[in-house]
């Protein structure tokens, strides 16, 4: 999720507010597939569940990738030469539109998935090391996330298209002069980012078993915080940032001794965001850029 942000921001220097909503729609797609296509009730069999998961992943990633690219083509591309704030404001507008698309599609109540092996706390134990219990619900998250991360790093670092993306990020005009099709590269970036958001949405839907139209916005901001924390435009940084934010969130909510509790989660995450932006705008792993501060 944070990766998608970093990717788009790094290339385009645009904060895509709509990213969280694309993520949310990805989750909704997977909910639809599980409940309606596979018609699963409570506690479905593992085999069918894996099939449903794979199908959802494919459909949601494709759908979200296309959606994200379409958003870019319709809403952001015409504004690429406008003053900086214009695309940012448009992004907020798009984000609200997508939320309401979800409302039209699913109504205002959250959509529920059946509790399963993959939902939080519901997985069977795979192995134990001392007190640490490893369950299916955690494993499946890792099983999807790690290949996606590896694939992404490979894509950006070792392919022609990835090279074009990095070149566009550094200097759009120079990249265009070197014969890179900037428009296509940007669209491609949005495709990849959309696919990532879709995958994230599927994982979230299976894990949390409930997803509503407003889920995406807050999570989107958390992801943005993660991206900023790790250093924006920096892929390993985004993963590190996401880990840290997750840890902070769990410490805040889970620790029994002095912890402010879940009521304050948002405040704490945003306070971190503000502090990072004010004191170390390049993030933990980022490089200092002239305009960064």
């Amino acid at each position: 999720m944070a990766l998608g942000y970093t990717l788009v921001y790094g290339i385009l220097e645009l904060i895509n507010f709509a990213h969280g909503e694309v993520f949310m729609l990805g989750g909704m797609i997977s909910a639809t597939i599980v409940v309606q296509v596979f018609a699963q009730g409570e506690n479905p069999a593992v085999g069918i569940l894996v099939a449903a998961l794979l199908v959802s992943l494919v459909v949601a990633m494709t759908g979200c990738a296309l959606l994200n690219a379409a958003i870019e083509r319709i809403a952001y591309k015409p504004l690429r030469s406008a003053p900086r704030l214009a695309p940012l404001i448009t992004a907020i507008g798009v984000s609200f539109i997508l939320q309401n698309v979800a409302i039209i599609w699913k109504g205002t109540r959250p959509v529920n998935l059946p509790e399963s092996e993959f939902s939080a706390g519901g997985g069977a134990v795979i192995f134990r090391i001392g007190d640490v219990v490893y369950t299916w619900d955690r494993l499946f998250v890792l099983l999807i996330t790690i290949p996606v991360l590896v694939g992404l790093v490979w894509l950006v670092q070792f392919t022609r298209q990835g090279k074009a993306m990095r070149a566009t990020a550094q200097d759009k005009d120079a990249a265009a002069m070197m014969g890179i099709n900037v428009d296509r590269t940007v669209s491609f970036t949005f495709l990849v980012a959309g696919a990532l958001a879709g995958a994230g949405g599927v994982i979230f839907a299976f894990y949390a078993t409930t997803i509503g139209f407003a889920t995406g916005f807050t999570l989107g901001l958390f992801a943005f915080t993660a991206a900023v924390l790790g250093g924006i435009g920096n892929l390993p940084g985004a993963v590190l940032g996401a880990l840290l934010i997750g840890l902070i969130q769990n410490f805040n909510e889970g620790l029994s001794w002095y912890a402010p509790g879940s009521k304050w989660t948002e405040s704490i995450v945003f306070a971190i965001l503000i502090l990072i932006l004010v004191f170390r705008p390049e993030g933990l792993l980022g490089e200092r850029t002239p305009e960064g501060g």
Binding site: L85, I89, I97, G107
Partner: protein, 557 residues
């Protein structure tokens, strides 16, 4: 504002043949034909039942016709004066000292406003006609007055609005709008005024200085809570008791807590909010535009959460009383002395008249506050500071090179924007006689931003118009439109309707997607008309020609 009669009075040399033909007709006919057409249209609409059948509508039509004819006779007010024997009236007016020339129009306008308000109070059914007459009178005046004709008319209409809307049978005097139905209620009108104030405040930050603020609702919340702290029994639990010019009922004063006069509260709320704006601004305004937007968004999320959690459990000190909010907040009023000597209402809550009551007094006061805000905003824009803001918006680097202190100027923009947000918030708390944390969500920030964008960033009047349209849609318009759709277009069965679905049982539930509609408005405006509906001239040029701050070669690298 475009000069409405210039194209018709100034003969254009390179006109198309058709319009040349038209201009060959005598002036009387050229004036009369449109009048007859408009009249025919109105009568047709009335006949079709769109305008509710009422004698007053026809009366209005007749007056419009008469006025058009009168204007045909006196194509120009001053020439008309010449014709009836007053020689050189115009040049004699211009020979007056500048002081007289500047002072007379406001005095005349003020007198007319009072006259109309009085007339509206005694004969509400006639006030619309008087208004029409005044508008027309202003159009007959020399260009300078013609320019103010529209704002003055709108202002007068707003001033007399409570008289028109609060009659028990007001639909005899006001027709029903097609599709949207009845005219907005007093509650809606007060909200519109408050949101217009906030939109102007945000416009100073976004429109003038070009700093995107996505957390404006925080300032609004601070203003509201300040009012709640300084004018309610809230702190009575901590043994604080203080009364300074408050007009609250004796029973409430006896409970304790801080009770300041509301006028003082407004000022304190503004200043406190501006101070918070400075505190937030000082560390964050160094950031570049989009980072700044995110940081303000963060503040806009943190402060409402603080207000939701700021009770004994969350904070250890009951600051905001948590989810139930603080209730009641004291009503505004002028106290017994001013009431006895000047006839001003001593406490708004005690006024129970048909026309003069809590809501209409709130409305007029909010209108006054809005006018002060507009005035300050326009004066600030034209001041040295305002020009510095615009310079920063257009090119930060160039502005800095010209010797504008970036941080100080930006912080001032933040502080002044926050000030008016705070005042609006405080007034909002007084009208709701309470503060409730659910009123301060990120949605509100976007709503205000949407008003600024739709109206045209930087243009005060456009922003007010944007606020009026969007807040009306928000509170009544979309719901009314929805009702009309369900009654006339769709086959709706309310018994089968699911309240959480947009389309169910053949019914549409459009209010659910209100913010989607705003999102669509934002995107459409940014894509097709980024300067807004009523652009500020300078801003328009900026969007059309670009800002040229992206050189082909990056000199900083």
């Amino acid at each position: 504002m475009a000069d409405p009669i210039a194209p018709r009075t100034s003969p254009d040399v390179e006109e198309a043949p058709a319009s040349a033909l038209w201009h060959r007709h005598p002036v009387l006919m050229r004036r009369a034909v449109p009048a007859v057409l408009i009249t025919a249209l109105l009568i047709a609409l009335a006949g079709a039942g769109v305008l509710r059948q009422s004698g007053e509508v026809y009366l209005i039509v007749v007056v419009v016709l008469l006025l058009l004819l009168a204007r045909a006779a006196f194509a120009n007010f001053w020439r008309g004066l010449d014709r009836i024997g007053v020689e050189d009236a115009h040049s004699r007016w211009q020979a007056q000292s500048p002081l007289v020339q500047r002072a007379v129009p406001p005095v005349v306008i003020a007198a007319v406003v009072i006259l109309i308000a009085w007339a509206a109070g005694t004969r509400p059914d006639l006030s619309l006609l008087v208004l029409l007459a005044i508008t027309y009178g202003l159009y007959l005046m020399p260009p300078a007055s013609r320019r103010i004709a529209l704002p003055v008319t709108v202002l007068l209409l707003v001033v007399v609005y409570p008289f028109l809307i609060q009659q028990t049978d007001y639909q005899r005097f006001l027709f029903k709008l097609p599709i949207f139905g009845v005219f907005p209620s007093m509650d809606t009108m007060v909200s519109i005024l408050i949101f217009a104030m906030m939109a102007i405040g945000l416009n100073m930050v976004v429109g003038y200085a070009g700093l995107l603020d996505l957390g404006y609702v925080a300032f609004y919340a601070i203003g509201a809570y300040t009012a709640a702290w300084l004018a309610s029994p809230h702190f009575a639990a901590y043994g604080v008791s203080m009364d300074f010019g408050s007009v609250a009922e004796k029973g409430i004063l006896d409970v304790g807590g801080i009770h300041l006069s509301i006028w003082l509260v407004l000022l304190v709320a503004g200043v406190l909010t501006a101070a918070v704006g400075v505190i937030i601004g000082l560390p964050t305004l160094r950031l570049r535009g989009d980072y700044l937007a995110i940081v303000t968004l963060g503040f806009g999320e943190i402060l409402p959460q603080v207000s939701r959690n700021g009770d004994k459990d969350g904070l250890g000190f009951n600051l905001t009383n948590g989810p139930p909010g603080i209730n009641p907040v004291d009503p505004p009023g002028f106290g017994n002395w001013l009431s006895g000597n000047l006839g001003l209402p001593s406490s708004y809550l005690r006024e129970q008249g048909v026309y003069v009551n809590f809501l209409s007094l709130m409305f007029w006061t909010a209108l006054g506050l809005l006018l002060i805000t507009v005035f300050c905003s326009v004066r600030l824009r034209d001041s040295r500071l305002g020009r510095a803001w615009i310079a920063i918006r257009e090119d930060e680097t160039a502005a800095a090179a010209m010797g504008i202190p970036l941080m100080r100027t930006k912080t001032w923009a933040y502080a002044s924007g926050a000030f008016f947000g705070g005042v609006a918030g405080a007034w909002f708390a007084t009208i709701k006689t309470g503060v409730f944390p659910d009123d301060f969500f990120f949605n509100i920030s976007v709503l205000i931003l949407c008003m600024v964008i739709l109206g045209g960033m930087g243009n005060v009047w456009g922003v007010v118009a944007g606020a009026a349209v969007l807040e009306y849609l928000n509170l009544e318009g979309i719901a009314n439109f929805n009702g009309w759709m369900n009654d006339h277009v769709l086959v709706c069965d309310p018994t089968k309707q699911d309240p959480s679905a947009v389309i169910s049982g053949g019914c549409l539930n459009a209010p659910l997607v209100t913010f989607g509609i705003y999102g669509a408005i934002i995107v459409l405006v940014m894509l097709t008309r980024p300067q807004g509906l009523f652009p500020e001239q300078r801003r328009k040029l900026e969007f059309e020609t670009g800002v040229h701050d992206t050189p082909i070669q990056d000199v900083t690298a």
